[in-house]
């Protein structure tokens, strides 16, 4: 916790004015109720400017928690997360009650801050139900706060909940590469759901974002072969590239020989010119 607070404090104070910093420092000394009130009242004392963020320097804002990012946050959101870290974590029951109260009374921006703070809070398993519930949410900003650029799901979500998160991100048309830990938590069950999803979309004459195929590459089976032939025949360059990458990742010789029919694509993968990152479109 010390480490988290030190890093975050340094980052936050670089961004605040003298008056803002003074207000924050006073709040940090307060009791629980005052801290919770400060969490709510932050926009009355802190500007909403976006924090400038140099991803080169701040690759890991919290050293032992890779994936935690404050990129694109405004100062109020960052301050709120910082204030939460000052709540006394003992006794546990009281701490949990305080966080639950903040959730129960939160408006939209407060919810975003609360979900952003989950990977930093003590007793991380206690927030699992809230976090999976946020994935079900129709509130776009809340969904993003838990699902995108947040290390909490990768660390704590069981497989079924994780798979729901990924599927809903695809459904919502959001960039899946912003899900932290996407590669590490690929799994067979998820690939089956995604194959079904792709089939449904194709049956309806619709498309899927090309990069969705990255989640199925390691799990392709014989039955997928016709779909990949179809994908190679696509007019869209990105879809042909996705087909090539899937075949390249597959251990199945049938798929490798399919790829060899497209030597240019095969070569660009071997040269390192083509990988999944080239298919990441940032559409929101």
């Amino acid at each position: 916790m010390e480490n988290i607070l030190t890093n975050l404090t340094q980052f936050l104070f670089e961004e605040t004015s003298v008056a803002e910093r003074a207000w924050l420092e006073v709040q940090a000394q307060s009791n629980a109720l005052e801290l919770m009130t400060a969490f709510v009242a932050a926009p009355r004392f802190i500007s909403k400017k976006n924090v400038t963020y140099d991803s080169q320097v701040r690759e890991n804002l919290i050293s032992h928690l890779p994936g935690f990012q404050a990129d694109g946050w405004n100062l109020v959101r960052l301050s709120r997360v910082w204030l939460l870290l000052h709540l006394e974590s003992e006794p546990k029951e009281q701490f949990i009650k305080n966080i639950e109260t903040l959730f129960d009374t939160a408006e939209l921006n407060e919810l975003v801050a609360l979900y952003s703070a989950l990977p930093l809070l003590p007793y991380p398993w206690e927030w699992l139900a809230r976090a999976t519930d946020a994935v079900r949410s129709n509130m776009g900003f809340v969904f993003d706060a838990i699902s995108l650029k947040n290390p909490y799901p990768e660390l704590y979500f069981p497989e079924a909940a994780w798979n729901q998160l990924v599927l809903k991100t695809i459904f919502n048309g959001k960039p899946i590469h912003w899900i932290y830990g996407l590669e590490r938590r690929k799994n067979k069950e998820l690939s089956i759901s995604i194959f079904d999803f792709i089939s449904e979309r194709y049956a309806a004459g619709r498309k899927v974002p090309a990069q969705v195929w990255r989640l199925v590459g390691s799990f392709v089976e014989e039955s997928t072969y016709p779909k990949l032939v179809q994908l190679f025949a696509s007019k869209e360059k990105e879809e042909r590239e996705a087909a090539a990458l899937v075949c390249f990742e597959s251990k199945n010789p049938q798929f490798r020989s399919l790829l060899s029919k497209y030597p240019e694509l095969e070569l660009s993968i071997q040269n390192g010119d083509l990988d999944w990152s080239k298919l990441e479109s940032i559409s929101e």
Binding site: R44, T105, E107, L108, N138
Partner: protein, 341 residues
């Protein structure tokens, strides 16, 4: 509190007037007949309970020139039985209702408070007071209100005082609900307690005034708000007389429209009447618009640019993924159409 429906209530509704000899008079006036009188005017209703109103009301209000409103937290018509109901109600004031209003081009603010009637349920009141600060400091909350007296009980006084302290601490204006019964004494008591707690009267709006209370409220430096509400509070002809007598300084008009028989167009109608009776436009503007803004701007939460600059609501906007528009509805439809498509 009317928890047993068979017991006679100690809290008569708004329609039950203690003065039954008063005969209300009406004069039918169609919108077409008075709209030219208020053409180009902009109105701010600092007291209206939109949670009880319909989209028709919002449409008519926008058409009549109401650009911004304040929704005070109040009694929803029956006592709430648990803290969760309060949480949901308060959340709706800063959430869904604010969004719904914005869809009609009306800027929505609110005041937060534990109302006097429900202050009499001590167990629940204690719980509500614990979470109230978490709502009082939210964005767009322009005051602590509406608080004060109903039955003038000991518990009402206790929670009124506690909320005055909260207002001081949060640097928020106070919106006082004055009681329907024993109004004159209740109003004086409300003011003297506010002064006792060291509140600057220019931070306190005393609501639901009448001819009997207005002078003392103004003399002591408070804002005097008048509710144009049929049968029980002020009629707008009486309101014109008050403005003629006292001028426009620290006087404001509201509708308090709620779940009772009330009129969300009370302000534009009163403005039209004042215009008809020859009250100067700048006076009308003060009592129907500017004074409310000046009083509640002390919260630091009102930016007039949000409603003074003409804007079109985005019909495709959603609140938490939900829209007020069902199945491709348009926000503005012709009310004269026989076919409801």
């Amino acid at each position: 509190m009317c928890q047993n429906p068979n017991e006679p209530s100690k809290n008569p509704s708004h329609f039950e007037s203690s003065n039954t000899t008063e005969e209300p008079t009406h004069r039918d006036l169609l919108w077409e007949e008075y709209q030219n009188l208020i053409e180009g005017m902009r109105f701010f209703d600092p007291h209206i309970h939109m949670v009880s109103r319909t989209t028709d009301d919002y449409q008519m209000m926008a058409k009549a020139g109401i650009v911004a409103i304040i929704e005070p937290a109040f009694w929803v018509g029956q006592p709430r039985t648990g803290l969760a109901s309060f949480k949901d109600y308060y959340s709706s004031l800063v959430g869904w209702e604010r969004f719904r209003s914005s869809q009609f081009g009306i800027k929505h603010y609110c005041t937060m408070g534990l109302n006097s009637r429900e202050a009499n349920n001590e167990r629940l009141a204690e719980e509500v007071m614990e979470i109230l600060p978490l709502f009082a400091y939210k964005e767009g909350v322009v005051g602590i209100g509406e608080i004060g007296f109903d039955d003038q009980t000991v518990l009402e006084e206790k929670y009124y005082r506690l909320q005055l302290e909260l207002a001081k601490k949060a640097k928020l204006p106070v919106q006082i609900h004055t009681p329907h019964r024993d109004k004159k004494r209740g109003t004086e008591r409300s003011m003297s307690i506010a002064l006792e707690h060291g509140l600057d009267p220019s931070w306190v709006v005393v609501d639901h005034n009448n001819e009997e209370t207005v002078k003392s409220v103004l003399d002591q430096g408070f804002w005097a708000a008048f509710t144009i509400y049929p049968f029980t509070k002020m009629g707008n002809e009486r309101m014109v007389a008050v403005v003629e007598k006292y001028g426009s300084e620290r006087i404001m008009i509201n509708s308090s429209a709620d779940w009772g028989i009330s009129d969300p167009l009370a302000i534009p109608k009163t403005a039209a009447l004042m215009k008809q009776r020859g009250i100067p436009s700048d006076v009308i503007r003060m009592v129907t618009y500017q004074n409310a803004i000046d009083a509640f701007s002390k919260s630091g939460q009102i930016d007039v640019a949000d409603f003074e600059i003409e804007f079109q609501p985005d019909p495709n906007a959603k609140f938490h993924g939900n829209s007020i528009l069902r199945g491709g509805q348009q926000p503005v439809i012709s009310k004269n159409s026989l076919l409801i498509q």
